[in-house]
């Protein structure tokens, strides 16, 4: 029934129905934003990435074949947008670090929300441990345990095989186990 409604919404959106379009965005926007946020951490950047993903998704809505769920399709686009930002960010960070080491500057400007997230993270050993994982492991964990996607869907979103998702999840859990054991003594 839900799928039917979603298909209907997409069809109507493609026909230029503004209300249907709005409904579609509202329905999936929070999840897409949180996916972006869980990857990028910076709320401002996550919003931009989510918007970017949405615009891309809406622009190519006619390419959506319904082979995967709309959410999976949207997540894939969002993830790609976030990864592009992470790559850019990594280049900028490298440049920043270089400049800081040259100019001996240690300034970090964070938004209030980002600061709050980081503070909360600091108080939560699990979140800290998740943060320390590599990108693919962190992503697999977030998609599995926050977004609660099945492995098959995670594979679609991450555009890797299910076996690779399993490897990432398995590796992430082992790492988390190790980190948390050392932090807390006993898990």
């Amino acid at each position: 029934m839900v799928e039917m409604t979603e298909t209907h919404l997409i069809t109507r959106s493609l026909q230029g129905d503004q209300a249907a379009l709005e409904d579609l965005v509202e329905r999936h926007a929070p999840a897409a934003f949180r996916l972006a946020l869980s990857i990028l951490v910076d709320p401002g950047e996550a919003e931009e990435a989510a918007q970017e993903a949405w615009i891309k998704a809406l622009s190519h809505l006619d390419n959506y074949r319904g082979e995967a769920s709309f959410q999976t399709w949207l997540y894939t686009i969002t993830l790609n947008a976030c990864r592009a930002r992470l790559r850019k960010r990594s280049r900028i960070e490298r440049l920043k670090r270089t400049l800081q080491s040259i100019l001996q500057l240690h300034q970090e400007h964070r938004s209030h929300l980002e600061e709050e997230l980081i503070q909360r993270e600091r108080g939560d050993q699990v979140l800290l441990a998740v943060r320390s994982l590599d990108e693919n492991q962190r992503l697999a964990i977030t998609l599995r345990y926050y977004h609660e996607l099945p492995i098959s869907q995670i594979a679609q979103v991450m555009q890797v095989s299910e076996r690779m998702v399993y490897t990432n999840l398995r590796g992430a859990l082992q790492n988390l186990q190790t980190i948390l054991e050392s932090d807390e003594g006993v898990l």
Partner: protein, 318 residues
């Protein structure tokens, strides 16, 4: 039923075994009961998974979707659509323009590429081989015996690069340009010379020769060089005794271009050379009058008549 490996079991555990069939679940349980490695993994997972779910939810669920997110997305999307629409219109226009330009260029170039014609709107330079004063008797510069009366006969008529010159009746050399400086050929190559014709007439009894020649050159510099070589004295007045020099100038051509007709009268012969430059061509008429018994002062009126006849035959477009 296939026995489950450690990997299979851990994959199933990670996948969540809610969708397993009863037999798969019992197989999984059997494996977990007998395998300490997978059993440990399952226990760790059972402890870790709720903590992860909780911490991640607390962390991210609290983050509200920025206000107006949907509106901003739709606004940006609307602008993008508009941009794409106009972009596609612009692209369409650009393509149409480019195709139109290509079509125009092709239409312009096709006469050149296919028909060897000048492109539309352009004129080719004047063909170099254009003969303004054709050779042989059809020449505008040609003087027919009738022009001079019954007593005159054609003694030479030839076109370019025929190295022969003919003398009328006594087989003596004709003092013509071809023999200038002992050369039997005009010292010009076909690339330099457009057309060249000469015509000589002799009077049977008095052995008077009237000779006319037309030389058309490709370029003015060559024409000038030719004139300098063929008529050093014509172009260098100082070499000509003043008392023997008479110069007449005739104006020809609709555009007022002047052809200078220079007449020279020498002691024992009358030699009239008329030479003119017009653009890339030299037109000259060359008269030699000679007689065994001595100079024959040609009637001035007769000479002028000849010149007028020649002048009348110069193409009007000159």
């Amino acid at each position: 039923m296939k026995t489950l490996s450690h990997d299979d079991v851990q994959f199933l555990l990670l996948s969540g075994h809610r969708q397993l069939t009863a037999s798969q679940r019992s197989e999984l349980d059997r494996h977990l009961a007998s395998c300490s490695q997978c059993g440990t993994f399952a226990r760790q997972l059972r402890r870790l998974e709720p903590r992860l779910q909780y911490s991640l939810s607390v962390q991210w669920d609290s983050m509200p979707l920025p206000g107006d997110f949907t509106r901003r997305v739709l606004q940006k999307f609307g602008r993008r659509k508009m941009h794409n629409r106009f972009g596609s219109i612009s692209r369409g226009l650009a393509w149409t323009g480019m195709l139109a330009l290509i079509a125009v260029l092709l239409a312009w170039a096709i006469p050149v590429l296919v028909f060897n014609q000048p492109p539309y709107g352009l004129k080719l330079p004047q063909p170099l081989s254009r003969i303004l004063a054709p050779a042989l008797t059809a020449s505008d510069m040609d003087l027919q015996p009738d022009d001079l009366g019954e007593d005159w006969t054609l003694v030479v008529q030839q076109t370019a690069f025929i190295p022969n010159t003919y003398w009328a009746t006594d087989d003596e050399g004709l003092p013509f340009i071809g023999e200038h400086k002992n050369k039997s050929e005009p010292p010009f190559s076909p690339e330099e010379l457009d057309s060249y014709s000469m015509h000589g007439f002799a009077h049977k009894d008095r052995e008077v020769v009237i000779f006319s020649a037309t030389v058309l050159f490709i370029d003015l510099a060559t024409a000038q060089r030719f004139a300098e070589e063929a008529f050093p004295n014509v172009l260098n007045d100082s070499d000509i005794p003043e008392e023997n020099l008479e110069i007449q100038i005739f104006e020809v051509g609709k555009d007022g271009t002047q052809i200078y007709l220079n007449s020279y009268v020498f002691n024992n012969e009358i030699q009239i050379a008329s030479a003119g430059f017009h653009k890339n061509r030299v037109i000259f008429v060359f008269f030699v009058l000679n007689h065994k018994e001595g100079p024959i002062p040609l009637n001035q009126e007769q000479l002028l008549e000849i010149v007028r006849r020649v002048e009348a035959r110069i193409p009007a477009d000159n």
